[in-house]
Symmetry: C2
């Protein structure tokens, strides 16, 4: 792997991805733990090649950690405060990891590169969690889905980024029908209602909710879901058109 500082990236501009999935009635975010002593978690991030559009770069970064490309991915905000990069933090991280760094990764030039001031474009992705097999990249010790309420403390302003991505999700979730991106191919009305309730953190009365969704005319009704109790089996639905 070519050293970061030697690659043909745009300087001082990074991309951070908040990758949302939904599982077991929890909204989750995919977070790598860095392969450094000291317990450092950081959102999937990367840089932009000189000949690459920013949306392309975000998709490449998403694919690196998830193996998938063809999903909802959108920028939500730029993070560009003057004091975003805390050099003391990086110095501590490097000090804790001198041995490891010596053997494989960071020289002085590299350190100077990553501790520059970076302005970051935040993207959020919505994925069907069952389609994703999280992938470690070279700098990761591990990578896991964390429920929003159990997120580890992340480096820099990454926790704030997740909050801000969640705001963008809430603003667009209903009127742009983003919800289908977080669900499997087929789902029951109750499952959709639960997802709404998790995202908005409030109840949605069942009858109104069902009517509102069916009136959109975007769902196709399939067979009943086999539950063992045939007379109470709920219908399964499928989103009519995947417009990613």
């Amino acid at each position: 792997m070519k050293a970061l500082s030697q690659q043909n990236f745009i300087q001082q501009l990074s991309i951070d991805c908040v990758i949302f999935g939904y599982q077991e009635k929890q909204l989750k975010v995919l977070v790598p733990k860095l392969d450094f002593k000291g317990d450092f978690w950081a959102l999937p991030s990367g840089f932009i090649f000189q000949d690459e559009g920013i949306d392309q770069a975000a998709r490449r970064i998403l694919e690196e950690r998830t193996g998938i490309r063809d999903v909802f991915l959108e920028q939500f905000k730029v993070f560009g405060k003057a004091g975003r990069t805390n050099i003391k933090f990086f110095e501590r991280m490097i000090a804790l990891n001198e041995e490891k760094l010596g053997e494989k990764r960071f020289d002085r030039q590299e350190f100077e590169w990553i501790t520059q001031r970076f302005i970051s474009v935040g993207y959020y992705a919505l994925v069907d969690i069952d389609r994703v097999v999280p992938r470690k990249i070279e700098i990761d010790e591990s990578i896991e889905w964390y429920a929003i309420k159990d997120l580890p403390e992340m480096i820099m302003d990454h926790t704030e980024l997740v909050g801000s991505a969640l705001e963008a999700l809430r603003i667009n979730f209903d009127h742009r029908l983003l919800w289908f991106n977080l669900l499997p191919e087929t789902f029951t009305m109750k499952e959709l209602q639960q997802l709404y309730e998790i995202v908005y953190q409030r109840p949605f009365p069942r009858n109104n909710f069902q009517k509102k969704i069916l009136d959109l005319n975007v769902l196709e009704r399939l067979e009943k879901k086999y539950t063992g109790a045939a007379n109470k089996a709920p219908y399964l639905y499928r989103f009519k058109k995947k417009h990613v």
Copy 2:
């Protein structure tokens, strides 16, 4: 003025401002015409100093052209396609203006600087148009308010930027009560309704509209507006709290 290329800016990152005002039942945008032969219009733009936050930079750029700072200003989107900067366009612009450039502004280094690939953070501002006296800066021949439907053709993707800013305005205008930013201190209900109709390009039935707005409980009712026909004079309103 120090040459652009010698200043301590973040490389390849710019800010473009879409400054909206409202006047004579028209939504308008403040657009400078560049002081070059060939009729070039461009949104108010600028760069980010190394020690400056991006929001601060946007406010500085806004103030340069308007003289005011304390107004609604928010980022709406980043424009970062790989082919954003059309070097042929800049070459033509320079060729047309060799004489002028020779005498005052661009050397080769400067040309290389402005024709780099730039990723631009789009900001939109909402101003009370009566409070603004548009200001030319060194590179401007003139600066004027243009109705959205009469915008001149602008350089690069600036026309697309205005469209995208307008989308952001429409998304936030109603639920975040952005409208008060575009109105003078006091206004009639009819004037507010007209502004809504201009922004959303559709009628708002008078009674419903008035009820909806009054139910928000954000307006203070003042004396009647003197129109000469006292019995039909409409009330003036004022926004209760300026939360910029």
